[in-house]
């Protein structure tokens, strides 16, 4: 079991699209995947099940006392399961603020789950929910759109990861890679790619996800791009990304145990 957190504090960079389609790609490589929708917007939940803000959800696990296995859903994708999110998660940051060990609640809830991969889709912020996802993850995958604005704030995300690593003793939490999304053959995209190549030398993934309308349509039809339009440019890119991620971050054969994996 390997947990990958899809994170970027900037919104609209393709976090949910990457979470959903990477999960579907890994599933097509015979991996059993659990997607955890940590975002109160619950877009991954909608994209994988067609449901909007279902209850009970992850909120009842993090803020309430519900066991995580009671909210694991089968999704529209074969071999992909989901812990749904709902709108109440948007208040969870405040509700969890005063609780001791608040950053560890998701890691504890996931303990013992037996999948090959857990994909954690996070909100566009660096609050308690994202901290929970980072604490529960073995690796971080950062989607970044190839635009000028996307370079702003990247340092903040890295600093947060560094801080968490120190505070929570997550010495093995690493950035698995940075994946470029919304790729277009434009000068701006090319220049941004060049900057990222220098900044993330060796960690910038080869796969570049193109801007592709089919990705949006697939969300609307409540399925992954690999079910909706596997031959589209977006479909081919996400299949390539799944292969690259599987090679880069192999699935750990043991059930999920964040404490064990960090050597505690």
């Amino acid at each position: 079991m390997t947990a990958i957190c899809i994170a970027n504090n900037k919104g609209g960079v393709g976090k949910t699209t990457t979470a959903v389609n990477l999960a579907a790609g890994l599933a097509r490589l015979n991996q059993r995947v659990l997607v955890v929708d940590v975002d109160g917007q619950a877009n991954a939940t909608y994209a994988l099940t067609g449901r909007v803000h279902p209850v009970p959800s992850l909120y009842d696990v993090l803020v309430g006392e519900r066991k995580l296995e009671t909210v694991v859903w089968q999704t529209n994708e074969e071999n992909v399961w989901l812990v749904p999110g709902d709108g109440r998660l948007q208040n969870a940051d405040v509700e969890l603020a005063a609780r001791p060990g608040r950053e560890w609640r998701l890691a504890k809830a996931l303990h013992g789950q037996d999948f090959d991969y857990i994909i954690l889709d996070t909100p566009p912020s660096l609050g308690v929910l994202t901290q929970n996802a980072l604490a529960a993850a073995h690796r971080v995958l950062i989607p970044i759109s190839l635009t000028e604005f996307s370079l702003i704030g990247m340092d903040k995300l890295e600093a947060t990861i560094e801080d968490l690593r120190d505070q929570l003793d997550l010495y093995d939490l690493e950035i698995a890679g940075v994946v470029a999304t919304f790729f277009e053959a434009t000068t701006t995209a090319g220049e941004t790619w060049g900057i990222l190549e220098k900044k993330y030398e060796g960690r910038l993934l080869e796969t570049r996800v193109p801007k592709n309308l089919d990705l949006e349509k697939a969300h609307r039809e409540n399925e992954s791009i690999l079910s909706f339009a596997p031959q589209s440019t977006g479909g081919q890119a996400y299949m390539a990304l799944a292969r690259e991620v599987k090679k880069l971050v192999p699935a750990h054969p043991q059930p999920y145990d964040r404490r064990r994996s960090r050597g505690a």
Binding site: Y46, L48, W73, Q74, T75, N76, E221, N222, E223, S227
Partner: protein, 200 residues
């Protein structure tokens, strides 16, 4: 602040303007001038209550309209089309309370003949599938037992391609996978309904 500005900002409200003197020139119609927005569902003013136009004013207005029609052929065509329409024909743009709603008119269906059809975007409120479907992939056989065939049909109408494909996959309703591969929600619904109807 200059004296002029101060006097403009601090002076008492100006006295009511005198009506402009009658002019012999036709009034200029400015289509770009901001218009007061129409209030929805406000009944159109009854023509009976409108004050009658003096013959001179009516002639002046018609001359202005004629001048504008000569200047703007597109406007002339629209006016000609409106005049050619039957007086019995209902005004579909009326905002009167008894006018049909956009749903009744089918406004959310873009007219394929319109050159603007391809650009029309009608946002829809996404409410998601009904909670009565329960978590995970819906079970059409259980839904049929609970809701009957009409209820199942209505429930399937709410579902999008992904959920329909998942139902077909989970219940082995398309062994060859031919229907599942096509992005055809209607056909998937047919397959599910047929399987439920023939189930023992």
């Amino acid at each position: 602040m200059s004296q002029r500005t101060r006097s403009r900002t601090t002076a008492a409200a100006p006295a009511a303007r005198k009506p402009p003197p009658a002019s012999v020139d036709p009034p200029v119609i400015r289509p770009t001038e901001p218009r007061e927005p129409k209030k929805p569902h406000e009944p159109a003013a009854s023509p009976v209550s409108a004050p009658p136009l003096a013959p001179e004013a009516l002639a002046r207005t018609l001359r202005a309209v004629a001048a504008e029609l000569e200047r703007d052929p597109a406007l002339a065509r629209r006016v000609a089309a409106a005049l050619a329409a039957s007086p019995d024909q209902p005004d579909t743009l009326s905002l009167a309370p008894d006018a049909p709603t956009s749903e009744q008119r089918g406004d959310d269906q873009p007219n394929p003949k319109s050159p603007r059809a391809a650009r029309v975007f009608t946002p829809r409120l996404i409410t998601g599938a009904s909670p009565m479907l329960g978590p995970g992939v819906p079970d059409p056989f259980a839904l049929h037992a609970r809701l009957g065939m009409d209820g199942l049909r209505a429930a399937l109408e709410e579902l999008r391609l992904g959920s329909l494909r998942a139902i077909v996959r989970e219940h082995g309703l398309d062994p060859g996978g031919k229907v599942s591969r096509a992005n055809d929600a209607a056909r998937l619904r047919e397959v599910i309904l047929a399987a439920v109807a023939t189930a023992p």
